[in-house]
């Protein structure tokens, strides 16, 4: 049997077992193992399993995962979301859809210290939703804003999305994190514009708030952002300046937030234990997925499918932007059914070599891929952020939340177009980095 045929059969088995509900990490390990056995020998495949898993769990750059996860957990426990919201609410409340814009700004701020979009949606759901309800905001707009705002955590560094992309494609995690900063700010601005124009077009969505806030109050409210600013500057400034690597940045960020939480006395023993348990659970899930993907990628490489597909696409002579559009459409489709990490793990072994062979910048593609994963967090029927919010806003039908986030998807698409036309928006900061 030719290696390509084995690769195709392996991929079909992988899809079949995936749809049967087998955990993705173990499907990839099993199919990868069987594939390598077919293409080499069982003696070569057997040691691969244990060596690969140990190589993944005892790999220094991967220590960043629990550190970023726990950083986000401490940021949530510190009540940063509430403080950010209170600050931005004072600055933006008088704008059309002002509370929605404040929510987006607070989500962007929280994203600067946390990589978890679900945590952002959950935290903001408990803080901003009651406020928007109090001022008679439409349920669709209020829940849509929070679900979409939560996705910013996946793009604005420190972001787990970039860490996983870097792990799977062997790109610099530091450069990827830095590359996400400007697109993250742009997306926040686009989300804010979506809120603004939605309310301008349909004022019934969000009644205007005429209550004035004095300049003194506004300036005093800025105290609510110092923690976020401090941690972000230490973490991202350290990476950008080349003083610390991303793992060290994760440790320092987590330590800073741990001290803040202790100082504010906001962490009980029980909550601390739960934080550690959640950190382990998420880290195990991610590292096992990466380990499974590594074995499966090795099998795919042996089958020569990635190189054959790349050569075939290059030989078609079609515009590279057409191929990119197709890849983006595939990501959009997959995002309807798969969670972000799984989507990356399953597709990058084939998609990334194609992108590189077409001459796209790998760091730029990292940002575009993460943007599409973000879209997957809010597309029906499996939008993780929407599910999270539905758990909080129990009186709002899930279909209303999905309708509410739809305009924000346009923001993501618009940003992908902007970044494709002006890739320098992504690449200029990483190209100027200290190391």
């Amino acid at each position: 049997m030719s290696p390509i045929l084995v690769g195709i059969i392996g991929s079909a088995v992988l899809l079949f077992l995936l749809f049967m509900g087998m955990p993705i990490a173990f499907v990839m390990m099993l199919v990868g193992f069987l594939g390598v056995t077919c293409l080499t020998s069982i003696d070569a495949a057997l040691p691969l399993l244990a060596d690969n898993l140990y190589g993944s769990v005892a790999h220094y750059p991967y220590t960043i995962i629990p550190l970023f996860v726990i950083m986000g957990a401490f940021a949530s426990a510190a009540g940063i979301t509430g403080e950010l919201y209170n600050t931005f609410e004072k600055w933006f409340r008088r704008l059309p859809g002002g509370l929605g814009i404040a929510t987006i700004a607070a989500c962007a701020g929280f994203a600067a210290v946390s990589g978890s979009s679900v945590a952002a949606a959950a935290a903001m759901g408990t803080v901003a939703l009651p406020e928007m309800k109090r001022f008679n905001y439409s349920q669709k707009l209020a829940t849509g804003v929070i679900a979409a705002g939560g996705t910013l955590s996946f793009l604005i560094p420190p972001s787990l999305g970039f860490v996983i992309f870097g792990m799977l494609t062997e790109q610099s995690i530091g450069k990827l994190l830095i590359a996400g900063a400007v697109p993250g700010l742009l997306l926040s601005a686009l989300y804010a514009l979506v809120v603004y124009f939605s309310v301008k077009i349909n004022p019934g969505l969000a009644p205007m708030i005429h209550e004035r806030v004095s300049w003194r109050e506004k300036l005093l409210s800025l105290r609510g952002v110092w923690e976020t600013l401090l941690v972000f500057l230490v973490v991202m400034g350290g990476i950008y300046g080349g003083f610390i690597n991303p793992t060290e940045a994760g440790a320092i960020g987590a330590s800073c937030l741990f001290l803040i939480v202790l100082f504010k006395r906001k962490l009980t023993g029980k909550a601390f234990a739960q934080t550690l348990l959640d950190t382990i659970r998420i880290s195990v899930m991610v590292i096992f997925l990466v380990s499974g993907a590594t074995i499966f990628s090795y099998f795919l490489a042996l089958s020569t499918i990635p190189t054959t597909v790349s050569a075939w696409i290059a030989g078609l002579g079609v515009s590279k932007y057409l191929v990119l559009t197709i890849i983006i459409a595939i990501y959009l489709f997959l995002g309807c059914f798969l969670d972000a990490v799984s989507m990356m793990v399953l597709t990058l072994p084939v998609v990334f070599p194609v992108i590189i062979s077409l001459g796209f910048d790998p760091i730029w593609f990292g940002v575009v891929a993460v943007l599409m994963m973000e879209a997957g967090l809010i597309t029906p029927p499996v939008g993780l952020n929407v599910y999270t919010l539905a758990g909080i806003a129990r009186d709002v039908p899930m279909s209303d939340i999905f309708k509410g986030v739809t305009p924000f998807l346009m923001g993501i698409f618009l940003l992908v177009i902007i970044l494709t036309v002006f890739p320098q928006i992504v690449t200029f900061l990483p190209n100027m980095m200290g190391r």
């Binding site: 955990p23 173990f26 244990a50 005892a58 610390i244 440790a251 348990l277 590292i287």
Partner: protein
């Protein structure tokens, strides 16, 4: 059946306590790296072996937490097809999936054991042998196998019409 339930409880508790043992190492991992950076920045003296200690700490935390993650269904899968199946078909697909997982993790445990004792490498700076940490792959494989076995038995019970 009582014995089976008793064994199930013991397995669930063992996975949980192993995970608790692993999670204890997360804070030292954070502290070690932070102190290393501070020490390097202020006194130009990094803590010797920070890299390798971090790797070992991560290995302990992740491998001891693998089974508990399965217990709380933290290993992600695609469920939009199986959710639409009838109870019998769903139980059948769950049984097959658990069986597939059992096969791969038992191979993992076996190879983890074999490779651990073949390994003679020590860490670069502190000369700590890798073998005990590599043996944790075996521990992770065995405990994962036990968790999948419990899930397999439960799905079989559903398949043959018993209670879940």
């Amino acid at each position: 059946m009582g014995m089976l339930e008793g064994a199930g409880k013991i397995i669930r508790k063992a996975s949980f306590f192993l995970c608790c043992a692993g999670m204890v190492f997360v804070m030292p991992l954070m502290a070690l790296t932070t102190v290393d950076v501070i020490s390097r920045a202020i006194w130009s003296k990094p803590i010797p072996g920070t890299f390798e200690l971090s790797e070992y700490l991560l290995a302990i935390a992740i491998l001891l937490g693998a089974a508990y993650t399965q217990q709380v269904k933290g290993h992600v899968g695609v469920d939009f097809v199986t959710k639409r199946l009838g109870p019998r078909l769903r139980a059948l697909s769950e049984s097959l999936c658990n069986l597939g997982c059992m096969i791969i993790v038992v191979l993992l445990a076996w190879q983890g054991y074999e490779r651990a004792f073949e390994e003679t490498t020590v860490s670069d700076m502190l000369r700590i042998p890798q073998t005990p940490f590599r043996l944790l792959v075996f521990v992770a494989g065995i405990t994962l196998f036990a968790e999948f076995l419990l899930d397999f038995i439960n799905s079989l019970k559903s398949l043959i019409g018993g209670e879940k």
